[in-house]
């Protein structure tokens, strides 16, 4: 019998097996039961504010309609950074898709997590069961990611209806969006786990808003002087926007793998810090 089996069904053989279990790969950080944390989240969403959830869904759609169709009528075609011309709406739609994923993921992984850490003592309860901190982190992040995916899928359908997906590559935008949501949720939770006051939490909004406006969302990066371009390119949203835009407009190239790598690194860093922090806060 392995340690993994034991944690899934502890009450059947309480004493004997545990003693024989060797050191486990994650040293008690992970019990392979993140889904129970997700299940808890689903139950809890029933008591959440649905208006917030719904408005998060419609926000990027409203942007798309007003700016894409409204402004788009004035602007017409835009030159992408690859030098090709696309209709304005088709240019900003993928950016808004990436933003939708980011917003969905960020909402669940920051404000919700902050509340649970500071006021609900929820994680303390979870971590006095056989769950480990990585279960809690993965469970909460997956939930945030699901919300991001939900927003993004709806948005992608709207894009399709408006004829803004210019290529079959657009199908890959869905996993891309999942990756983006995972990256933001993971880092979002890590950052939140270090926050102590509401004022500190406001910094998250303070960082996100300009990132949303300036990450080549509404116009190509080439508008900026070189120095600013570098700054934008260092920020996560730009990578998300470029990745999704490449897919939905069909301008795919190998260089896009850098964006994927950027998010993979974000995910790992976020998970490592969240797990560490949860351990320090609740298991020390």
């Amino acid at each position: 019998m392995t340690a993994g089996e034991r944690t899934t069904n502890p009450s059947l053989a309480p004493s004997s097996a545990a003693a024989s279990a060797g050191p486990r790969p994650f040293g008690g950080l992970y019990a392979g039961n993140a889904r129970s944390v997700m299940a808890r989240g689903w139950r809890a969403t029933r008591s959440t504010n649905w208006l917030v959830v719904v408005s998060g869904f419609f926000e990027p759609i409203f942007y798309l309609l007003s700016m894409g169709l409204g402004l788009g009528a004035l602007i017409g075609q835009v030159q992408t950074d690859d030098g090709q011309s696309v209709p304005y709406a088709a240019f900003i739609a993928p950016a808004l898709l990436a933003v939708a994923a980011m917003n969905g993921a960020i909402y669940d992984s920051t404000w919700n997590v902050f509340f649970k850490m500071q006021f609900a003592r929820l994680y303390e309860g979870m971590l006095s069961t056989s769950l480990g901190p990585l279960d809690v982190a993965l469970g909460e992040i997956s939930l945030a990611l699901l919300r991001g995916l939900l927003y993004a899928t709806g948005f992608l359908v709207v894009m399709q209806a408006l004829g803004l997906n210019l290529s079959w590559w657009a199908l890959l935008a869905l996993p891309a969006v999942l990756l983006i949501a995972f990256g933001f949720a993971s880092v979002g939770m890590a950052v939140t786990s270090y926050m102590k006051t509401f004022q500190q939490m406001d910094w998250i909004t303070f960082v996100l808003l300009p990132m949303f406006l300036f990450s080549a969302t509404f116009y190509p990066l080439s508008v900026y002087p070189q120095g600013i371009q570098w700054v934008i390119q260092a920020l996560p949203l730009w990578h998300g926007v470029e990745l999704v835009r490449g897919l939905t407009t069909g301008m795919v190239d190998l260089g896009m793998l850098w964006h994927v790598l950027y998010y993979a690194v974000m995910i790992v860093i976020g998970l490592v810090f969240t797990t560490r922090r949860l351990r320090a806060l609740f298991l020390d």
Binding site: N9, P10, N33, A44, L122, E124, G125, L283
Partner: protein, 319 residues
């Protein structure tokens, strides 16, 4: 003798004093300062001590949610440093402050908690209904947690801790803040668990709770164990059979105290009253009248753990 379910030896927990990371080591605050005790399976064991004694800290180390600084600790035969999840899967933990899931309904709290242990859905559902009955919360199954009374929340927390059929319960001040009736209901529930063979580890600063619930206990103060034994045993060892409590009014206490210093086996002077420890409180009272001392109020009672604590630390349990 079977192996103990808890064995501690020179258990120490110190916290880094905030703001002095550089000076770590010498300036650490020692919350638990080398305590050693053993608890046998099925036993009901208490940690009795005043605020800040280190009771919760000890509980958290045993509950494998706090890492010891030094010393030996074995819980259910395992080392919490290596087998945290395995140990926690066999414990039922009732923390000092409720941490119920307020976003979920009462019954959902039990269901979800059971799933954290990886238990099958059907088993958890069956168990949840049994426990609602055990905690007398059947008609509150679909209530919001925030709408429960303090006593109900505590019972729900205890019910939740039982969802995984734990071998041992860790109860940190299970009845603090409850009214007498609610406390008695809780004690009754805990008594049933004990009868079923569950090991109980209880912290409290109520001597009546310790006397009710504990087969054996340690008196803890400032992170150290002052004495160990059964309640009756401790009273016998550290106190007399009876106690005479007299009040002369705060202005005269000190003066009177000098005159009766040799009375009984021992005299304790408190700000508001004087305690005379003796085999017979009545006899001491008569001796007082004989020398012309007439207290405003007097009371003869049996010795309690409170007296043991006073004797051991020179302080009251509840300040």
């Amino acid at each position: 003798m079977p192996a103990p379910v808890i064995a501690t030896q020179n258990l120490v927990k110190s916290y880094a004093v905030t703001g002095s990371k550089a000076a770590r080591g010498s300036t650490d605050f020692v919350a638990v300062d080398g305590i050693s005790f053993e608890v046998a399976a099925g036993e009901s064991f208490g940690l009795l001590g005043p605020n800040g004694a280190g009771k919760s800290t000890t509980m958290r180390m045993i509950g494998a949610v706090s890492t010891r600084t030094s010393g030996e600790l074995s819980v259910l035969g395992l080392d919490p440093n290596r087998y945290g999840p395995e140990i926690r899967s066999q414990l039922g933990v009732v923390p000092q402050e409720n941490n119920l899931d307020t976003e979920l309904k009462v019954r959902e709290n039990l269901l979800v908690y059971g799933r954290y242990f990886g238990l099958p859905r059907a088993q958890v559902a069956r168990r949840a209904d049994e426990l609602l009955e055990f905690a007398q919360l059947e008609d509150k199954a679909n209530a919001k947690v925030d709408d429960l009374s303090g006593g109900m929340k505590r019972r729900l927390t205890i019910a939740r801790a039982l969802i995984n059929e734990p071998r041992m319960m860790l109860l940190d001040e299970p009845t603090t803040g409850l009214d007498p009736q609610a406390r008695h209901i809780l004690w009754d529930r805990l008594f049933r668990l004990k009868e079923q063979g569950t090991t109980l580890l209880v912290t409290t600063h109520y001597m009546d709770e310790a006397e009710q619930l504990c087969d054996r206990l340690v008196v803890v103060d400032k992170g150290r164990i002052m004495a160990e034994g059964s309640p009756a045993d401790l009273i016998r060892r550290y106190s007399s059979r009876e106690v005479l409590e007299v009040r002369f009014g705060s202005t005269q206490n000190a003066e009177v105290a000098e005159r009766i210093a040799a009375f009984g086996e021992r005299v304790e002077v408190l700000p508001d009253r004087i305690l005379v420890y003796s085999d017979s409180g009545e006899r001491e009272l008569e001796r007082m009248s004989a020398v012309g001392l007439h207290p405003i109020t007097s009371l003869v009672r049996r010795s309690s753990l409170e007296d043991v604590f006073l004797r051991l630390t020179g302080r009251n349990l509840i300040e």
